[in-house]
Assembly symmetry: C2
Homo-oligomer: 429 residues x 2
Amino acid sequence: MDKVGIGLVGCGTVGSGLVRNLPEANRLLQQRLGVGLEIRAVAVRNPAKKRENLPVQPVADWRSVVSNPSVQIVVELLGGTTESLEVAKAAVAAGKPLVTANKALLAERGAELIPLAQKARVPIYFEASVAGGIPVLKALREGLVANQLLGLHGIINGTCNYILSRMAEEGSDFSSALQQAKELGYAEADDRLDVDGIDAAHKAAILCLLAYGFLPPFPKVPVEGIRNLSAQDVSFARQLGYAIKLLAVVRPVGPERVEVRVSPTLIPARHPMASVHGVFNAVGLVGNLSGPVQFTGRGAGPDATSSALLADLGEAARHLQDKSPGPVLPSGGEKIRLIEPGDSVGRFYVRFEVRDQPGVLAQIAGIFGAEKIGISSVLQPEGHGADSVPLVFLLEAARESALQKAIAAVQKLALNRAPARVLRVEDLA
Amino acid sequence: MDKVGIGLVGCGTVGSGLVRNLPEANRLLQQRLGVGLEIRAVAVRNPAKKRENLPVQPVADWRSVVSNPSVQIVVELLGGTTESLEVAKAAVAAGKPLVTANKALLAERGAELIPLAQKARVPIYFEASVAGGIPVLKALREGLVANQLLGLHGIINGTCNYILSRMAEEGSDFSSALQQAKELGYAEADDRLDVDGIDAAHKAAILCLLAYGFLPPFPKVPVEGIRNLSAQDVSFARQLGYAIKLLAVVRPVGPERVEVRVSPTLIPARHPMASVHGVFNAVGLVGNLSGPVQFTGRGAGPDATSSALLADLGEAARHLQDKSPGPVLPSGGEKIRLIEPGDSVGRFYVRFEVRDQPGVLAQIAGIFGAEKIGISSVLQPEGHGADSVPLVFLLEAARESALQKAIAAVQKLALNRAPARVLRVEDLA
């Protein structure tokens, strides 16, 4: 059987991993799927830079890779959303299947790219874009294809999960845990995409696309990272029986409305998601038939990402060989919208900093009561005469707009010492 | 688009679930895959019995279902290994893809069936045969296709896991936990397939087939169920920091040798597998690229099984529509053999019942030492003057044959009061 020709655009850490892992994987793909892959062209920003294992001389011009007649599948590994979109469009225009690990491209430019690919009937494969070593998109797209999805949640940024694990296990504060993550290579020098939740939100948007055929408008997805999380809140959460994780939530809310968000979230310490530690990722979902399913594994790193890229390449190659059309890009969510900010209903953790004086608790509890927000537990450490003491509430389900009103009212009180800290609580299935 | 015709052979609990779930699933399959399914013939043992929702009049003769020209895919849901094999062979002979939930058929008769299907190039789909609601075969077959599998382990019998969970949580003994499982419908009246580990071994054999292209000769797979597990051992395990699960293990051992077994096994209480409770299933594996991956979900029940059957039906229908060949049945393991009994190397938990007298510990420790088996911990509850007391050892890795020799030597000692209880220990990745 002839090998299928691959063109690689971008060859950084992920691309080099793919090149390194290809020979052994090729043996397995040949045996298991009856296909073989061959890298036939590579474009990189600096072709003069020395690279190991590359089977061809790289070039600077990616257009020549996409248009190379011996290239049948284009692998885009540039990252970013500008040049990568041009590459993707060129592949689609050339009728060549695209394989990518680029979550930003799909989440931020998918609305432009996906209709083009659908119209041209060119498949796009992007298993590597979410939770690298865990084949969760394949599970949504095929394994659970007969299910209505009642909701998804995920720990889908390994950097944040590493930092939160350090904070929980050692009581360290955010900045020293971030420093450790950087020293170990788990966090980039520019930590914003990871730590501020953008990367997790990209992946949440892609999970939403797979689950509901609806790609949410990215700027409207509420995102909160972990930069402002204090060791104090991690400790209070633990005392209440919860762990704090950067959780992505995708959930249908009534007809044609979906809630998508990323935020540091309290989850029950006994839930399996809470024992996902370090750089590991996990995605949980509930199907109407399957019931709750959880996938756990490595979300990043060149090998885990290679696992996903090579599976996509094997599938793409098999479809080319069979002359079958390949997977359909998700659709059907044309009428779906994100819920309005404030309409989100959920449980919250709120920490106030208040003057240590009699009657404080009653006053604040009264304000929650006026907004019809139930209190499920309260934590009030002894003040030891300090001027300001924390007062922590774990609340029953409430509309976010009602919660904000209550919090604004508390913050107007003379006894209030500092802005309230609000965190989401998810009890999970 | 024309619908794809389904013929159902067998319509018990699982078949009725499929029939009930088909209409809603059809809407999703149409939207997501562009295929529609239609049940066009049904064979049951007693066609006179009243059944709900069946779109066609059932017949007794399954041959007429398989040969019905409007039936394009045969769904075998009879169970067992005799008539089901005939059905499967007839489907293959008719060139019609087979979808089945029948793990016994594949594990015990796969050696006969699979070569026929390979020769006829007829695909067999069996996602529903292992861990119902968890698409783990799809993950092995496609999502992780580029990985060498360094090992798999699983909790793949919900009945046993329910019983073990009750025993662990409530300290109940096996027979009362089994009784509870029967009352809740989690265990069949004939409990042997589940409780004695046969069902889990069927699934382990299928996981081995997927992972290594090698279907182990079923009678040679070592299987131990949970019927003889005592509450005492569950409690000692917990004191040592372990939980006991009925664990299936599939693991390559040197070149062309695989170890496959099912046994009650101590796993670290802190490992995510240990928090798989009740009827839930979990499969963990380590890929050379993906690293450790764990899948958790419902393993049985008509809805979870429907989820898998419908995904397989959707995939089979899509291949028929595309005229593409469908998945290749696993192969390539022709040279692989099971390891010899006794060659297994692993850690063990051993409980002796001994006379409560000075020097016992030294004597037994000496016997382990003579076999070069290290002791990693010992538990010796106070005897309170009883004639016989338990003495528990957690051992370092040892060859099973050496362990058996040591145990035989201890059992010859005058101080030994009862046969030793031996359990496997797996520290897991």
